[in-house]
């Protein structure tokens, strides 16, 4: 009986209503593109439930209130933890014209006061998170926990509504600017152009700076060698044993109290947040110690900011006099793609997901204590509907038949390669041409799905990708599949990974170049690659599958090519 019950549960029932169903979904929207930027490794059912519903909703919400001319947002489908995305494209020109007129009006307040609107939204988000944090999960009644679950659901929904607005506005400005600089001989890949968007200080870099400060403190307190020579997971235990170590931990903890609401993995609940498990920040601190103590983010930002001002001045000198005021305003707005896009990750996904993980684990503890599931983090293999079904009186229910089956399946497939697209079109190129590009949606085109690499046989490269940041570098490859492995990165390595998120930023200071499987020219990887001046090749699709750690590779990001120098 138990066996039978277990077999009834498949991964595909994890996200009811949003499970990918080719017979129904393909005839409606023709092409579903794999979101390799966010669903590698494949998502747990609990996360996929929130993500497919609320992220999709947020995109629609923003498309609606900004009245984006050519799309009504996207819709997500879950395919065994892999997210597939389809654009809802407005193809009727009369409707486009109507939406355009409204779009123009909706943009004005953002153009006039981008930072002010974002500050207000940030405040709203933090107030919601703070309210959730006040719940004492272990003292709360079952019904209180149920309310907490529903509060998390509405917080997540609102977070995604806010998330897309500033992104949509800054990206359309960025794309317009790309067009307008062409007559001045600039393209989005030319360094003089990219220099206009570098050297912005933002929350992510401020947090990195604090981490770097902690690394510096550790060295001056005589803890540097201990941190360098001890496996990451044992560092905390060893440090606690000395007096200076205890003092350093105090500093670490006061840092985490402020900045610790930050997930290790941005898009899922299954890995800890910093405050929950302080040992996870040892890895970036170690990276800063390896890099050397004289590394100064401030002076780098300052140099980049000076370069930025010079690049902007150079361009403005060529612009006709009467166009200058709005051209300059547009450059500032386009510049938000870099600073805002990094910062919003911190206030939206990274913080909200940490609060959700806290709440879900609290509920998980309750269910485990009642014997409904085996251990608290089994809850990530349920979805909120299933939790709601039992939480009022968990002792009457058993959900292991679900959690066991789904966990086993997820463990088995979470790093497997999945198809880049499901489509009724001839091939991925046609699918992109017909079902992605007409949406004019920069977020999807330039981040989530990414531009397709151009295969150029004359270069005889082993792998082709898209230039995220220009330059050429040669060195040993280090293939890193998840954040937990980041401490393996050595100075001078070339990082080869599925994709990155803001938590990975510290290793950009260590490596010579970055290669990612997925992500476009405005993905996190490309943006940070440009900030650090690293040759960055994105959307290689097969980078981590083809390249082995230790192989020497040459990355020619400018040409979009990668060469494996010692093939075995």
């Amino acid at each position: 009986m138990a066996q039978e019950k277990q077999e009834m549960v498949k991964m595909w029932d994890g996200v009811p209503g949003f499970d990918f169903n080719p017979e129904i979904d393909l005839p409606e929207l023709n092409s579903y593109f794999f979101d390799g930027t966010h669903s590698v490794p494949l998502l747990t059912p609990m996360y996929a439930w929130f993500w497919c519903r609320h992220c999709g909703h947020g995109a629609q919400y923003s498309a609606e209130i900004l009245s984006l001319p050519r799309n009504k947002g996207f819709t997500f489908r879950d395919h065994e933890g892999g997210t597939y995305i389809a654009m809802r494209i407005v193809r009727d020109e009369a409707e486009v014209a109507k939406r355009t007129a409204k779009f123009k009006e909706a943009l004005i307040p953002w153009i006039e006061d981008f930072d002010g609107i974002w500050a207000k939204q940030r405040k709203e988000l933090l107030a919601m998170y703070d309210k959730l944090k006040t719940v004492d999960l272990d003292k709360a009644s079952n019904i209180d926990l149920l309310h907490h679950l529903w509060d998390m659901i509405s917080t997540s929904r609102r977070m995604w509504e806010i998330h897309f607005q500033g992104m949509n506005v800054s990206y359309v400005a960025f794309l317009l600017l790309e067009d307008l600089v062409k007559p001045y001989g600039l393209t989005s890949e030319s360094p003089e152009y990219q220099n206009m968007f570098r050297g912005f200080d933002n929350q992510v870099f401020q947090v990195d700076k604090k981490l770097w400060g902690l690394a510096k403190d550790a060295v001056s307190m005589g803890l540097g060698d201990l941190i360098l020579n001890t496996p990451v997971e044992q560092v905390m235990g060893k440090i606690e044993q000395s007096k200076s170590g205890k003092e350093w931990l105090k500093k670490l903890n006061s840092f985490l109290a402020v900045d610790g609401w930050r997930m290790v993995r941005m898009m899922d609940f299954n890995e800890p947040y910093w405050l929950e498990d302080p040992s996870v920040v040892i890895s970036p601190i170690k990276a800063f110690i390896k890099k050397g103590g004289d590394y100064d983010l401030d002076s780098m930002t300052k140099t980049l900011a000076q370069g930025r001002e010079k690049a902007i001045a150079n361009l403005l000198a060529k612009v006709p006099k009467d166009e200058k005021p709005w051209f300059e305003a547009l450059i500032m707005l386009g510049g938000k793609t870099g600073s805002f896009s990094e910062e919003h990750d911190l206030f939206c996904e990274l913080h909200c997901h940490a609060v959700q993980r806290r709440g879900l684990l609290g509920i998980g503890r309750r269910l485990a204590a009642a014997g409904t599931i085996d251990k608290p983090d089994d809850i990530f293999f349920l979805n909120p509907d299933e939790v709601e079904r039992v939480l009022g009186a968990p002792e009457f229910h058993k959900l292991q038949y679900i959690t066991k089956r789904r966990r086993a399946r997820w463990e088995e497939i979470r790093f497997s390669q999945v198809p880049p697209v499901f489509t009724t079109r001839k091939d991925i190129n046609e699918a992109v041409g017909m079902d992605l590009l007409p949406s004019d949606d920069a977020i999807i085109i330039k981040i989530v799905v990414g531009e397709l690499p151009r295969v150029r046989p004359e270069l005889k490269a082993d792998i082709y990708g898209v230039c995220g940041a220009p330059g050429v570098a040669e060195g040993p490859a280090k293939v890193i599949m998840s954040y937990g492995e980041l401490d393996k990165v050595q100075k001078g390595d070339i990082l080869v990974c599925p994709g990155t998120n803001p938590a990975w930023t510290p290793v950009f200071g260590l490596v010579k170049a970055v290669v990612s499987d997925r992500g476009g020219t405005l993905s996190h990887t490309a943006i940070v690659g440009r900030e650090y001046g690293l040759p960055t090749l994105v959307n290689t699709f097969t980078g981590t599958a083809t390249i082995k750690t230790g192989q020497r590779i040459r990355v020619d990001a400018t040409e979009g090519a990668l060469y494996i120098l010692d093939k075995k």
Partner: protein, 341 residues
């Protein structure tokens, strides 16, 4: 790698070139565009790759050395070498068959054997007058021949010189090709939905001449001019020019010809046609969200209003600009980029 215009829109600019993407977008908007197809840049790339021309061209260009500051004779020589590399190659059979099948379908669609088409260059950037276009091309052999010549026209001496002087690579500006049916034009012209000089947007301006559009847009000849009130669609001013020459079909192309004396000072379009042109232009301006500069032709084989075809529309360039705030100007530009053609 070949598309009917109706499958395309402005987002396909980089795939098929600006002219093709525009024709697709116009079809989508419901404008009567001559039926035809677009050959993507990828097909050109396939051609140079399969024939080995890409490597030949690349190695030739590598051997050229520094070109900044060289004289026009050098550019001419480079141009001739690169163009003949492309033009001398036999079209691979798979590409030939693909083009032939679209052409055959176009003949079937229009019900005309060896339907006359124009073969037009379509670059991804606007480079007026740099690349080539052929009018009144008939039969698949001619079409294939002209497609090759249009592809090769990415390497006209002036295009090569332009790229070198701008610091772009010599090899570049790969071209898409638009192949629309020729309109057997009795008269052709251009229409502005705003006065390009005074920025008065209450009137619609028309200029027209007998024959093909090339006889108007060159701007060299005296032509007919009409002004229509945008609100009421009444003709408020007319000037019938002394049209001594116009562009007409020849056996295998098109050329200037003398206009018969009896027709020289006769308006080349009727009032009915003028008002219809103005009406469509007004609608187009509305749905595109800004003043337009449009090209049209009236087919002598069809009866009004099916005889009216639209060949091009683009945002009108206006000399005098109204003063607007920086933020509404930015909003305007963004809206035009994402909502307009």
């Amino acid at each position: 790698m070949i598309y009917w215009f109706e499958e395309l829109g402005k987002e396909h600019n980089d795939m098929v070139g600006k002219k093709c993407a525009n024709l697709g977008q116009m079809t989508r908007m419901g404008l009567a565009v001559p039926p035809g197809f677009a050959i993507s840049i990828a097909l050109y790339e396939k051609f140079i790759h399969e024939t080995g021309t890409d490597e030949k061209m690349a190695s030739y260009v590598r051997g050229l050395g520094e070109l900044k500051g060289v004289g026009i004779s050098v550019f001419r020589e480079i141009s001739e070498t690169l163009r003949s590399m492309i033009e001398a190659k036999e079209m691979p059979s798979s590409i030939r068959e693909a083009i032939a099948s679209y052409y055959a379908n176009l003949c079937k669609k229009t019900g005309i054997e060896n339907v006359p088409v124009s073969v037009r260059s379509a670059g991804t950037e606007s480079r007026p007058g740099m690349f080539e276009t052929y009018l009144n091309v008939r039969g698949i052999e001619e079409v294939i021949q002209k497609v090759k010549i249009v592809w090769a026209s990415a390497y006209t001496a002036r295009a090569v010189a332009f790229r070198v002087n701008k610091g772009f690579p010599v090899l570049g500006d790969e071209l898409g090709v638009a192949v629309p049916k020729m309109v057997n034009a009795r008269a052709s012209g251009i229409t502005f939905t705003v006065d390009p000089v005074t920025a008065d947007d209450s009137k619609i301006l028309l200029e027209a001449n007998w024959g093909l559009g090339e006889g108007v847009v060159s701007g060299a000849e005296s032509v007919d001019g009409f002004v229509v009130d945008k609100e009421s669609l009444e003709i408020v001013a007319r000037h019938v020019g002394n049209k001594v020459r116009c562009v007409v079909y020849t056996k295998d192309g098109a050329d200037w010809a003398d206009v018969p004396a009896s027709m020289q000072s006769m308006p080349c379009i009727s009032d009915e046609e003028i008002v219809e042109i103005a009406r469509v232009a007004k609608d187009a301006e509305k749905s595109l969200g800004g003043p337009q500069d449009m090209e049209w032709a009236v087919d002598q084989d069809l009866s009004f209003p099916e005889s009216l075809f639209w060949l091009q529309t683009r945002p009108a360039k206006v000399a005098a600009k109204k003063k607007v705030s920086a933020s509404s100007h930015i909003a305007e530009l963004i809206a035009k980029k994402f909502g307009g053609v």
